[in-house]
Symmetry: C2
Subunit: 898 residues, 2 copies
């Protein structure tokens, strides 16, 4: 049997090998291919398969790996004309992680590997730059100790700070050769004290250690947490890229930087980025030193700058997407170290899509596929009200768009705790690290005093669509003191802070946030967004409706492109303050007559609700679901009534005690062990037909009134919830038709009657249920609850985290539909329904209707439309188009063929 190939030279790879080589390895190989070997430092990739084998083998390097690395290294040495560890002219390499999906900052990297006490002297002599050589060596000892052997970062920083104090200098760059030599000695001492071993002087040992460290970092806590949040499978593993070092820290003709082919925040068609002269790449992304804007490079290193811009154009054309690159200029010569499709905020993504089509770079379908549908929601989020009077205390880097405000907190833990209490917070930090990611989720926005657009804070916030202002140099954060200062203002924990990630503004005034539609700065973006949505509407097959219970929501959704109401939950109408007492009187009724009297009071109110809804949705279908929740949801909580009763008793208000006792008794009668599986939906309709009758009366009276008032008849669809048996729907349909008859309305012409499909049994019996249905709407929330036996209320808090930790789930099944289980139930229901009625209209009205991954599944399942909350409508339109592009109509499942 041939031995497995664990190692591949950059020169032999291509971008399609992403799974094997990781994103970085595949892209470096691709760049080598298209830019030429002289533009990309040579090297090789140890495959993700090697990492997987290493993990499976309980952290032993797989057979053959060491030999293959040695051979690849020999080829690299030959190509470079230098040997690793050569005391005269050493080859130095970087050892970088590179997973299939980018995990910025999560996995380990070691630079300058190959330096030893001997070879540092050779490097100094060869480059005639002892300071560079010793700076490189101290960086290597520092990084190797920290990354490979776990020497604490604080201890390292403490050594540097102490030496700088001793030397009386402020900047690292002010340390001279002797000081750097002293630092190496102190680092090696620290290394020995920490690990009990001397710092390794064998470059092969260094290399093996670094490779293991990268493999190990895959299963480190930070990486595991990141993968959990970003749903990256644990068994992918990471590749390891060993690459000849080039040096941005060789003096003033050298630099390191990151460059985007277009502005990474706005999407404007101008390259952007940051760079630092006489620095290595780590200095740029760490955010420790404040970087220079890429434009400034045109002055400092014009040739390299021109070449870089040309390469960015080449790469963008080649990849057909905005590129995010890393480069180094070594003594005037440009090297490309990495490229990848740029993560970008929604406004930049939309701008790129529109510009790329205008430029002829992409067609509309291709352009749509560059969008992250989920992230587009940020375009709908508020910014500062520019007409408001507020004091700008400072301006930082506009790192992730959108405005946010909340109470200042200074730790991720506090952000999480406050969010759990329902408070809105802004996470304020000097800079952020992987450990802070949980705090990003909990916060409204992120504010840092250090770092640029490529800093950790900026990258993560953009990925999440959270507003972020970073590198705010006017801000001083005192972490131990739990305070910050900006200008003359002291910010204590809990004080209000507002940030605008689109402009970089920071204030402590309670500035109103305005919707993007009212924000002039967003005008161009929203126009482009409209353009993109227009393409989506041309390309998509799925209809997009909205879940709306009020005329206001309906109007908003329509503005956002909804093609009708897919779900109006009539119960929400009963929750309003003026309805609740009437609803309660209905529920407290002793008999049917009393109940009917109470319902009679509710009827005109419901009718007015429906009239408003119909008028807001003229010309578009409106699906009204009859009462669904159990009646006890409309009664006050037992504890509250009990307390009130005690109070009334203490106050000797005995009549009141009697009234409350009756309420308690009714609550007791109506209480259920499992209300989710209890007296709800159609069961209520069969138990108290008078309730559904009142609703049907209100619906049809409203339809007739609106038709005669506006001349336009509502496109009415009456929906029966929680049907499990054909007969339930048959009875309710007959019942609704009888009421409609009284209003002279004809089924099939003036209105339709359909059902929710939200019970597993309904999916199995969908063929007979379809006999009585003009449409199905899959209630995927309840279908998930019953199909998985998961009560949403109970599971998301207690079980979900553990299940993700144990890799049972990668996300909540209420967020993205569980395709192999619930999804197959839905497909069975769709298929059987269409077996009975070839053209049965099929919708989805669970929250999955606004989730892009679920939308792709629904498209593929032959569903006709999804219905989602108003703000999700644009996302659904784009996601539906993307699904249609990826899965052409003819290839969809779900159409019955027999």
């Amino acid at each position: 049997m041939a031995a497995t190939t664990w190692v591949q030279d950059f020169a032999d790879g291509r971008r399609e090998q992403r799974e094997l080589l990781g994103g970085k390895g595949a892209n470096v190989a691709e760049m080598t291919r298209i830019l030429g070997a002289d533009k990309v430092p040579a090297g090789f990739t140890i495959t993700t398969e090697a990492c997987v084998a290493y993990m499976r083998g309980e952290r032993t390097l797989p057979d053959g790996l060491e030999e293959q690395v040695a051979a690849a290294l020999a080829r690299l040495e030959e190509r470079a004309g230098r040997r690793l560890g050569d005391p005269q002219d050493p080859l130095l390499v970087s050892v970088r992680s590179g997973a299939r999906e980018s995990m910025p900052g999560m996995l380990d990297t070691v630079l300058n590997l190959g330096l030893t006490d001997a070879s540092v002297e050779g490097l100094a002599a060869r480059t005639s730059n002892p300071r560079f050589a010793w700076d490189s060596y101290r960086r290597f000892v520092q990084m190797y100790g920290n990354v490979v052997k776990g020497v604490p970062g604080e201890a390292i920083e403490e050594e540097i700070a102490r030496l700088k104090r001793e030397q009386g200098v402020v900047l690292d760059t002010e340390l001279d050769v002797a000081a750097l030599q002293e630092l190496v000695t102190r680092f090696k001492g620290l290394y020995e004290r920490t690990t009990g071993e001397a710092f390794p002087q064998d470059p092969q040992e260094q290399l093996a250690g670094a490779i293991r460290a990268v493999f190990d970092s895959w299963t480190g806590d930070r990486a595991v947490q990141y993968r959990r949040i970003n749903r990256i499978p644990d068994d992918w593993g990471t590749a390891v890229n060993v690459q000849q070092m080039v040096f941005g820290n060789k003096g003033d003709t050298s630099c390191s930087g990151v460059a985007f082919s277009r502005d990474e925040v706005t999407g404007e068609p101008e390259p952007s980025g940051d760079f630092l002269v006489n620095a290595q790449g780590e200095d740029v992304v760490s955010g420790v030193r404040n970087t220079q804007d890429l434009a400034a490079m045109a002055q400092v290193m014009p040739d390299a700058h021109d070449e870089l811009l040309e390469i960015l154009r080449t790469l963008e054309r080649h990849y057909g997407d905005m590129q995010d690159t890393e480069f180094t200029v070594e003594e005037g010569r440009l090297y490309m170290l990495q490229t990848r499709n740029a993560k970008r905020p929604a406004q930049a993504a939309v701008r790129f899509a529109v510009d790329a089509v205008d430029e002829g770079l992409l067609d509309r379908s291709q352009a749509l596929l560059t969008l992250d549908a989920e992230g587009l929601e940020t375009l709908l989020h508020p910014t500062f009200d520019r007409s408001a009077d507020y004091r700008v205390l400072g301006i930082g880097v506009n790192a992730s768009p959108g405005a946010a405000k909340g109470a200042a907190v200074f730790t991720a833990e506090e952000a999480v705790a406050a969010a759990a209490r329902g408070e809105k917070v802004i996470l304020v930090r000097p800079f952020t690290e992987a450990d802070d990611v949980a705090g990003f989720h909990a916060a409204q926005g992120i504010l840092t005093s250090e770092g640029g657009k490529a800093s950790h804070a900026a990258l993560v916030a953009r990925g999440m669509g959270k507003p972020c202002v970073c590198g705010a140099t006017d801000l001083q954060v005192d972490l131990p003191g739990h305070v910050a200062r900006i200008g003359d203002v002291l910010i204590r924990e809990g004080d209000l802070v507002a940030i605008n990630g689109t402009t970089g503004e920071i204030t402590t005034d309670d500035v109103p946030l305005v919707e993007p539609s009212q924000d002039p700065a967003m005008a161009g973006v929203l126009e482009r967004f409209e353009t993109v949505l227009g393409w989506a509407d041309e390309l998509r097959v799925l209809g997009v409706r909205t879940n709306a219970d009020t005329p206001e929501d309906a109007a908003k959704a329509r503005e956002l492109g909804a093609e009708g109401i897919g779900l109006c939950r009539t119960e929400h109408m009963f929750m309003e303050a003026d309805r609740q007492p009437k609803m309660r009187r209905m529920i407290m009724a002793g008999d049917e007559a009393e109940r009917r009297a109470a319902l009679e009071e509710l009827r005109p109110l419901q009718q007015a609700d429906f009239e408003g809804l119909f008028e807001a949705m003229t010309g578009q279908p409106v699906t009204i679901r009859l009462l669904d929740p159990p009646l006890h949801e409309f009664l006050p909580k037992k504890e509250e009534v009990g307390e009130e009763l005690h109070e009334a008793y203490a106050a000797k208000r005995y009549h009141r005690v009697g009234v409350l006792a009756d309420v308690l008794e009714r609550i007791e009668t109506l209480s259920e062990a499992n209300p989710m599986l209890g007296t709800r939906g159609v069961r209520l309709g069969l138990l108290y037909p008078e309730i559904f009758e009142m609703q049907a009366e209100a619906i049809f009276a409203a339809a007739v009134a609106v038709r005669s008032r506006t001349g336009s008849a509502p496109k009415l669809e009456v929906m029966i919830p929680l049907v499990g048996y054909e007969r339930e729907l048959e009875l309710m349909r007959g019942f609704v038709v009888a009421v409609a008859d009284r209003h002279g309305l004809t089924i099939g012409e003036d209105y339709l009657v359909g059902t929710m499909i939200e019970l597993p049994r309904a999916c199995f019996l969908a063929d007979s249920i379809a006999d009585h249905a003009d449409f199905f709407s899959f209630g995927t929330n309840d279908l998930t609850q019953t199909g998985l036996g998961f009560s949403r209320d109970d599971i998301e808090g207690k079980i979900l985290a553990r299940y993700i930790e144990f890799k049972v789930l990668d996300r909540s099944p209420f967020e993205t539909i569980d395709t192999p289980g619930v999804g197959q139930m839905l497909r069975m229901g769709a298929w059987l329904g269409r077996k009975t009625k070839q053209d049965l209209k099929l919708g989805v009205c669970g929250e999955h209707g606004g989730d892009p991954d679920s939308i792709a599944f629904f498209h593929d399942s032959g569903i006709d439309y999804v219905s989602c909350s108003p703000f999700r409508v644009p996302i659904a339109r784009v996601a539906a188009a993307q699904a249609a592009i990826r899965i052409p109509l003819g290839e969809r499942a779900g159409r019955a063929t027999d």
Copy 2:
């Protein structure tokens, strides 16, 4: 288009036409065919289809029916040589209902139809028996008025009673011709006052009215209620049989009676029955007059008696089953009016099955199919302890076997109310009617002062398997006074009464009830039952295990034929008094260490439980399910703790207040909106692995201990509940195996690990779940709850009755499996599981495992075994055999073929 045939002569029918002609019509036709036309009075049947058409047509007789009835009547008149309504020599007919399934007493019958003021005189002259003629006429006017026109029965009885008082007589038979003529006059007056019309003198009008009345009785309240209880579809309709009258009331050479081909209570191979000289059939079944035993007929009418016995033998051979017949002797000549397979108590059914095989009448399969598996449970029920000292206050007719005791109640309503309060009652009545049926369900047993083995009370009680003593002549029941007297004892409502339906004994002593196994009188029956069960075991394919949590239950079930434990619910072990405090301490634990300490105390107790179970089940498989219910089920109720806290506060026991407050807090934390869908089963196992670890420890330690003590290794199967995801089972399996490893036990050899399949998702993903399972056990209770979205606790009380009323359901889906929904999920799970593992062992451990209808479905689905409560084991064995006889192995579904 040919007109539909609505009418068929008896001479043209056969037994296979039951659906069209009803049971009575088909059997009368069959008897005509095999006994000859001279043994069965001629007539014709109006089909069930005519009834269905009548109901669909809103109570108009279907086209052609009247003409066809007229033609059939003409044929009947020709055959009889008499004309309906002929003033000289009238033909009289009976008009009887006859549905597909017998509905005794629920549908209407009119006798003596054709009598008018004119023809009664002709009949009197022709028969030279004016008393007979006038008695027949008064019966007709009475019955027609009551049945066809709704004249109240009490008003009729009142007229009779008044006349008897006036005449100074006691018995109906003492009324002379003049008195009967007076009675006819008074009945006609009552008829006219009630209906506003004169009593019809046109026999054709009478006939049409009677046919309509029978049709209408199908939709009467009594019939609807009966069908609901007996699960007879409403759309079957009833046939109407019009038959020439023969008269058992023509004097002392005439009689009417019912006869069984074997003793209908014991099954002894001797014909039995009741008859009444000079009476019509209604007198026999109404229980109003006390009947004579059939044996006495040998003296009174020896020829007719001999002929009847010969006919009974013929019919039994022909039908291959015990027959229940009605006959009339008219002036010495025997006529058979009806035959059907006899309903019979379990002891008679078992005796017949064994005797029929011994006699060569049936083979074992045929004999097994004559049994009602459900009803066999009565054989396992108690009788009076014969060694006990109790005073027999009276002996009635032993109408339905088994003993019962409880508080006396005198109305069905009170029986229902008391049962709802959880009380055990005996329903005491003079006689019973259809309206009382609900009370039968609620009562432990039934006691009446009137009627014989063919009375309503006897028939219904036998059908339900309820003990019944009827015709207790020493008993006087004072309904208005709510008291009864037997001998010198007064029985007030609520006083204890005990009855023995096997012997007819009645007492008011609190006599102990004894199990049948300890009852010498049942010895022969139980032996025969063993014989029958032996046949069942030979023929059945399904295994039968038991659900048992204690060694006692296990031993009982084994005695009843269980082939292992299919479900041991370990949680029940924690509910015992000595375990509860420890369990609560475990749940109240603040951290894992505390929890482990509490578990350590529970472990030896669990181990002892398992040892007992293994020893009780030596050589047979024992399936142990790890903890399933949510933890809060082990804590006290919130209200109780709250009350105790208030009391402790009032008593200034402040330390106790603090303790209780902690408990309340824990209850609050653990409380769930829908516990059924919450933190249960495998979810608990993943959240608190230490609980499942303790259980696994106890199980394996017990297995090792029992093996070394007894030399016999338990056949151990560990079962994980509520699995929905492959990964859940993979994790738990690994976990259980790790514990077993510590005990040196090997999976596949020393034990198996399997899972419950009780979530719809698990059915859909059964192929991948099967990768980690040695067996599946379908938990059909929970699969019903989730598949239908029905919380059993909430639905059975509130929704079920309405759903049966609205014909959504015909019974609870928790009683018999919902085959098109839940049943198909089970089949999908079975099929997918076996697709992965051809020989995957499949069981069912929901309560459906003891339900004969469900068992047939499980057999057909390829399930390997069912598991049910100990007392259901024999029923399951018989039901499994019946299923195997009806559905041979090769025709079963559910075996994967690819």
